[in-house]
């Protein structure tokens, strides 16, 4: 039974679940840091899907385009998270707020 | 089953046992210092055994060198991390607790 599930299908499925987990985390968690982590998980899930769909048919080498896209995506996602982190730290230092709700 | 494969399996199994010991130590030991102790010692040795075990499977000499180089890096990093955490924990714990721990 297990034999015929391809490895890429496992990872693609995990990517889907991770995406929803990240989305839920983004809306449910209050703290800024957690929201930033949630966005990074969201990103990672998308890249996981990209690469897992790519290696469905192995020719002499895996499809390089998704790999390039994912590397670019990771760097972009990390830069955005770093910027969000800087903002969150500054908000904490200025106003002591660590969530979007008004009561800190 | 050629001699080389058997040799690799034995060493890898030994390595795995040491890793297991390290993890059990991590779970069972009472305070931070003993856990650090268990982890760094056991895991480094376990890694060494696995690396030696795999040396025979390797196809080119340079890959072998690289694996040894990785092992030495892991050793340096592991011990340093253990030292840093230990020092941090030591500076934080109040005076009498350390005396009581050292008796």
């Amino acid at each position: 039974m297990i034999a015929e599930i391809e490895s890429h299908q496992i990872y693609a499925g995990t990517a889907g679940i991770l995406f929803c987990l990240g989305l839920a985390g983004l809306f449910m968690c209050g703290h800024f840091l957690k929201k930033i982590i949630a966005t990074k998980i969201l990103g990672t899930s998308v890249f996981l899907l990209l690469v897992s769909l790519a290696n469905r048919n192995q020719m002499e080498f895996a499809d390089p385009v998704p790999h390039a896209m994912v590397i670019t995506g990771i760097v972009v996602a990390v830069s955005a998270s770093a910027f969000a982190l800087a903002l969150a730290r500054r908000i904490w230092k200025e106003t002591g707020r660590s969530t979007f709700e008004d009561n800190p | 089953m050629s001699f080389v494969n058997a040799f690799t399996i034995i060493f890898c199994l030994a390595g795995a046992v040491f890793f297991l010991a390290g993890t059990v130590g991590l779970l069972r030991f009472p305070d931070i210092f003993s856990r650090l102790h268990a982890l760094t010692k056991a895991d480094n040795l376990g890694l060494g055994l696995i690396v030696i075990g795999l040396l025979f499977q390797v196809d080119s000499f340079s890959t072998g060198l690289k694996m040894l180089f990785i092992w030495s890096l892991a050793l340096a990093a592991g011990s340093n991390a253990c030292y840093a955490i230990g020092r941090y924990a030591f500076l934080r714990t109040p005076r009498e607790k350390t005396r009581e721990a050292s008796e």
């Binding site: 995406f19 990209l50 499809d63 903002l87 908000i91 | -």
Partner: protein, 506 residues
């Protein structure tokens, strides 16, 4: 100019602002403004040249890096993108002219405002990239560049409310792009191509394609701040400084609208259903009502104008239900031309009007010190030009003739009637009625003469003039829509039928 040179223009549109940004970043602070304005002028000139070439001999395509479509990335400019490029050019140039004296004022110069020019020029480059790029993943990177630079600009002043609103905007932007990228990943997995035309050819009917497209759509809706997903816009646009909020409201929001329009018509026209069109229209209608109603209730001018943006975006989305109908060929649905031009014209007119309004409110806030609604009493005496600019922008937003807004609303209404979807007409009218409410509320304050003459801080004249020119632009495009329509028709996407697959049951 031969074909190669004119197609190179497309790359210049992105390279020029970035070069300007880097030079501005490396220059000492006092030279940055002049460098910035020069780059702005150059970019606008390049935009005009591109529009001229496209109008003259059809769409242009520029293969980046010399590689073809499937592997490399293409820049593609047709009528629709040229129209949005022109708007970005014109509004961008005048906002740059406005920004130079604005940031020279001491109290506006707090925080990291000397980074305004590099950030603004990179944002401009990413806007041009959004309108030109014909590659799904490249559009994602452009979206991120645009989002990051927009948030950086929004938090320029460093004030806590701006920081909090900026973070909320950033997280929303990231979430939106990730949803978009998820959709793109699924599309690439299925069609293994990223170029819009190849993807359009490879799309077939199927549930997974529809899921992919709805993910892309939701992602972009978050970035366009349509009604339920607009929570981040009012805070970000109102706490930003005047030229920045003008850029955000007039240009940044339009880029993701343009992308939705491009994908809806060019790429996913096969898997788009009439119900989806009506749903988008309903979202637009809700946005109109909610945004305009909220704008009426705000105490602070900038918040009011920001909420008005949420409202006006709703108008643009009325375009989708009108063009997504089951029909065979263009002749059978004559109203397509109207709907199409109306929606795009609304975006352009709103761009000019909203930029003028934010710049005018910026002048008020700088002169009076606070942008509270009651503090602008009797300003027409001392700041006639700015009040006039606000009035012109207001007229265009409401859609009174002879403004651009009027032509847009006229065409949307006409399309609504001829296509039999009459239920959009009351929404359009209620929207312009509410808009009239808050525009005249501000004007009434400005016109009400007060006994005491409040001492105003002197405001540099160029700021008032730029606001007035943008306001006048919103009115002038109401007079001459002919050329605009000719430009829009180049490779107009609505020529070939947008027929969602008939059997809606699948």
């Amino acid at each position: 100019m031969n074909a190669a040179a004119s197609s190179a223009l497309l790359a210049v549109l992105i390279a020029a602002p970035v070069t300007g940004a880097l030079i501005a970043f490396l220059l000492p602070v006092r030279l940055r403004a002049t460098a910035g304005i020069l780059t702005a002028a150059a970019t606008t000139a390049a935009t005009a040249a591109t529009a001229w070439r496209v109008a003259a001999d059809g769409a242009h395509r520029h293969a980046l890096g010399g590689w073809g479509a499937p592997l490399g990335i293409d820049l593609y400019a047709d009528g629709l993108s040229c129209v949005f490029l022109l708007m970005t050019g014109i509004v961008g140039l005048f906002v740059s002219v406005y920004a130079k004296p604005f940031f020279a004022q001491p109290e506006e110069n707090k925080g990291a405002t000397e980074l305004f020019w590099p950030l603004w020029l990179i944002l401009w480059a990413s806007l041009n990239g959004m309108f030109l790029s014909a590659d799904l993943f490249n559009l994602y990177v452009m979206l991120e560049v645009m989002g990051l630079s927009a948030v950086a600009l929004a938090v320029l002043s460093g004030r806590p409310p701006a920081l909090v609103a900026g973070l909320r905007y950033l997280l929303a932007a990231i979430a939106g792009s990730m949803a978009y990228l998820m959709g793109v990943a699924m599309i690439y997995g299925a069609v293994s191509a990223l170029d819009l035309q190849i993807v359009a050819a490879g799309i077939e009917q199927g549930r997974s394609f529809r899921v992919a497209f709805s993910l892309i759509l939701v992602g972009l809706l978050v970035k366009t701040a349509v009604f339920p997903l607009h929570f981040w816009l009012p805070g970000a646009h109102s706490t930003a400084q005047a030229p920045v909020s003008a850029i955000l409201s007039a240009l940044v929001v339009k880029a993701s609208f343009y992308l939705i329009l491009r994908l809806w018509v060019d790429v996913f026209d096969g898997s788009v259903t009439v119900a989806a069109g009506q749903a988008l229209g309903a979202l637009g209608a809700a946005a109109i009502i909610w945004g305009s109603y909220q704008a009426l209730r705000q105490r602070r001018l900038k918040l009011m104008v920001a909420h008005s943006t949420v409202g006006q975006i709703g108008y643009m989305f009325l375009l989708f239900p009108l063009i997504t109908v089951v029909y065979q060929d263009v002749a059978e649905a004559p109203w397509l031309a109207h709907a199409w031009t109306g929606g795009v014209y609304q975006a352009i007119a709103h761009g000019f009007a909203k930029a003028a309004m934010f710049l005018a409110v910026g002048v008020f806030a700088m002169a009076v010190g606070s942008d509270d609604r009651d503090s602008t009493v009797g300003l027409v005496g001392q700041l006639p030009m700015t009040t006039f600019a606000l009035a012109l922008a207001g007229v265009s937003l409401i859609g009174l003739p002879p403004s651009g807004g009027f032509v847009a609303k006229w065409m949307l209404l006409k399309a609504a009637f001829t296509s039999g979807q009459w239920w959009w007409a009351p929404v359009i009218l209620l929207g312009s009625f509410l808009t009239a409410g808050y525009v005249f509320m501000v004007l009434r304050q400005a016109f009400a003469p007060t006994s005491h003459k409040i001492k105003l801080k002197p405001v540099p004249r160029t700021m008032e003039v730029t606001a007035l020119v943008l306001g006048a632009a919103a009115i002038i495009i109401g007079f001459r829509a002919e050329e605009f329509l000719l430009l829009l028709d180049v490779e107009a996407a609505f020529q070939e039928p947008v027929e969602p697959h008939r059997a809606n049951d699948r």
